[in-house]
Every structure is written in C-alpha cells, then in structure tokens.
C-alpha cells in the first residue's frame, strides 16, 4: 500500500510532470532541434525570396484596401462568395464527366438553387445580426438603457475605434451562425427544394422544345 502511495503520490507525479515540462522546454537547446529550426527557416526564406516585392503607390488602391479592411465583414464576404459561386460552381457541375447527362443537369439546377438560397439567407441574417449587435453594444451611460449595452465588453470606453467595430462584426457573425443553424432547415432547405424543382421543370420544358 505504501509502495502504491509512493508511486502515485501527487507530489511525485507533480515532480515528474515538472521534469517533463523542463525537458520539453530544454528541447530548444538541443542541436538537433536547432538544426531542424534553422533548415525550416532557410526553406521559408527561400519561399519568400521567390515572391516578387510589390509596392503600392496609388493612393486610390491603398484607400480601397483600407476600406476593405475596415468595412468588408462576414456579410459582404458571404455575398462575394455567393456571386463568385454562381460564376464557377454550375460550370464545374456541368463539366463533371463522372455522371450521366441527366444527373449533370439536376446537379447544376440544385447547385444554382443552393447558392441562391444560401446566399440570400446567409447575407441577410449576417447583415441583420451585425446591425443588431451594433444597436446592443453602446457605451454604458445614464441615458443608455442597460439592454443597449448587453454586448459591450467590460472596460471599453469608446465605440468609434476600429477594434470595437471589428468586435461588433465578429460578435454579430457568431450570433448569425447560431441563428442560421435553425434557418438552414426552416428557410434554406425548403427554398433550395422549391428552386431546384422550378429549375428542373424549366430545363425539362426547354429540352422538350
């Protein structure tokens, strides 16, 4: 019994863990680690050397980049994804040689329907939630009802900083994702089904002509 206690005593276990942590942190002093690290650094530097250096001089371009960084949040990203999806995905499905022609046509119709339904709900729910979080993350003061500062983090004194704006976008996006778990079934799935059937019927009419 004493032997078991000695082997498994918390003190000894703690010592062993500390020793293990110590040996892991000492890894950095081992020459093998140093060699691997130096080799990786060389590879990364070579990769970086391959990429040409670019200097942005046009004010308009720099301002546009600044605008994107500040204002291009998840709702706009979802819209961009949807628009580009319409330009690429149906063509990828249409050129899929692994399936027969009929399957390809249904697959294109379904993809277009899915993109329209997903982009529609994805954009508007994100947009609405980000707006909602903005309304509910005011800086607390006597004139502001408590509910309007529900999402304001502790210690924030100004709501005009870029950091705070990005926080609002992030919080709005997270809330939107939770909302969309439900709308995925309530709106996206039935809308996708309806649009797919409409497109397939339209295709069949076109084929008959």
């Amino acid at each position: 019994m004493r032997a078991i206690f000695v082997i498994y005593s918390p003190y000894r276990l703690g010592c062993r863990i500390m020793a293990l942590v110590g040996s892991v942190s000492n890894l950095k002093d081992i020459s093998f680690y140093k060699n691997v690290s130096a080799s990786l650094k060389k590879i990364r530097q070579k990769g970086l050397d391959v990429i040409p250096s670019v200097q942005f001089s046009q004010e308009k371009l720099i301002d546009t980049l600044g605008y994107i960084g500040k204002n291009f949040s998840s709702d706009k990203q979802r819209l961009a994804l949807g628009v580009t999806a319409l330009a690429t995905q149906p063509f990828i499905d249409a050129k899929n040689r692994s399936v027969d022609e009929k399957t390809r046509k249904v697959s294109v119709a379904r993809t277009v329907a899915k993109i329209i339904a997903g982009t529609f709900t994805g954009f508007f729910i994100r947009y609405g939630c980000i707006k909602g979080i903005k309304a509910l993350s005011q800086i607390p003061s006597k004139n502001i009802p408590k509910i309007k500062s529900l999402f304001t983090p502790k210690g924030v004194k100004s709501n005009t900083t870029d950091e705070f704006e990005q926080y609002r976008n992030a919080m709005g996006t997270v809330i939107a994702l939770v909302v969309m778990v439900f709308t995925n079934f309530l709106i996206d799935a039935p809308l996708t089904k309806f649009l797919t059937n409409t497109f397939v019927k339209h295709q069949q009419k076109g084929d008959k002509k």
Partner: protein, 216 residues
C-alpha cells in the same frame, strides 16, 4: 464555478481581444465555425430522423461526416494559408505601401537588406507607424481571406465533392441493385440516374435528408 453572467462577460472579452485587431482571422474562424455548425445540422438531421431506417443511417451518417470533413478541412487549410502568407508578406515588407517604405528608409535601414527577410517585423520595429501599417495589413488580410475562401468553397470543394459524390452514387446504386432488397420503394431499375434517385428518395424521405452541404 463561474456564473452565466461571468461566462458571458469573459466571452465578450475574448472576442474583443482576439478579433478586434484581426478581422482576417475572424473571417477564417467564423467561416470554419459556419461549416462546422452547418455540417452538425446535416448530420443531426439524418441522426434524429425517425423515417430513415437504421441500416440506412449506418451508411448515411459516416457519409455526411466525410462530406463535412472535406468541406471544413479544405476551407480551413486554403483560407488560413492564404491569410497567413498575406500576413507574412506584409509584416516582412514584401507587400508594402510607398509611405511605409519611405519611413523605413528615412530611419536609416537599407531597404534591400531589411525587406523580405523572414525575421523582419515592421509592426515591432516601427511602432510609430502602427496605425497606417495596421490599416494596410487588415485590408490585405481580409482580401486574402476572401480570395482563399472563394477558391476553397467555389473551386476546390465542389471538384472534390463531385468526385466523392460520383463514387458514392455508384456505391449506392450497386448496393440498391444487389443487397438492399428490404427497401422495395427505393429499388431502382438498371439505368438509375441521380434525378431518378432524388425522385425516389423524395418519396421516402423529407427534404432535410437530401439537402446536405448548405453553406451557412
């Protein structure tokens, strides 16, 4: 044990600390979270659907999980790689603005020796231009994340998924023709196409069953 209000307060602080200064990172993380939640919804739709027989579930659940893994891994790997490479290019000065380079030059650094070196970190070396640098970096990060997500969601994932779906379709048809004699409603004729399969499945299962891969 923390109270609910304390947990919510900590959550707000974590969000503010992590994403307040890094919108590109936020887009990558919320994108991954979006795919995870969407996939979880699809898997649970199959899992908790009483109309799907047990034998079908044992096949459909792993299929949904595999599909989810393709979506999530492809999105994360491609988008975060784009974002990380863009961040490194900006922090080392490979991608930079004229005024940032002028400032570095004025400080006495040799541009050809300083820019594009793996250890170079403009934000650390020149805190006095933090505002200008950060505005530029955030723009490049967000643009890179968006381009990465477009390539991953709209090109790589559909190609991989088509390949995977075609294989699965063949397996399903083979299984239906051969083993699955317990399901007369779903038993197809020899020339079953995806359209026919969807039609038959729609008679058997509700819409949520065959509405997988909806990006939320």
């Amino acid at each position: 044990m923390k109270s609910l209000s304390n947990l919510f307060s900590s959550f707000k602080s974590v969000m503010y600390k992590n994403y307040g200064e890094n919108p590109g990172k936020m887009l990558v993380h919320t994108g991954v979270l979006g795919w995870i939640l969407s996939s979880m919804a699809q898997v649970s739709a199959v899992m908790f659907n009483d109309k799907i027989p047990k034998e079908q579930k044992s096949f459909l659940i792993p299929q949904e999980i595999a599909d989810a893994a393709i979506n999530i891994i492809s999105f994360y790997v491609v988008t975060s790689s784009f974002k990380n490479i863009a961040s490194k290019l900006v922090s080392t000065g490979k991608l930079s603005t004229k005024s940032i380079r002028s400032h570095i030059e004025r400080s006495g650094k040799n541009l050809s020796e300083y820019l594009g070196k793996i250890d170079t970190d403009i934000a650390k070396d020149f805190p006095e231009i933090k505002g200008e640098y950060k505005t530029f970096k955030n723009g490049v990060d967000v643009l890179a994340s968006t381009v990465g997500s477009v390539i991953s969601c709209n090109i790589i994932t559909p190609v991989l998924r088509n390949e995977y779906a075609a294989r699965k379709q063949k397996q399903i048809i083979a299984k239906m023709n051969g083993e699955d004699k317990k399901q007369p409603v779903l038993k197809p004729n020899r020339s079953l196409s995806m359209e026919g399969y969807i039609k038959m499945a729609s008679e058997k299962y509700p819409s949520s069953f065959y509405s997988s891969n909806l990006k939320i």
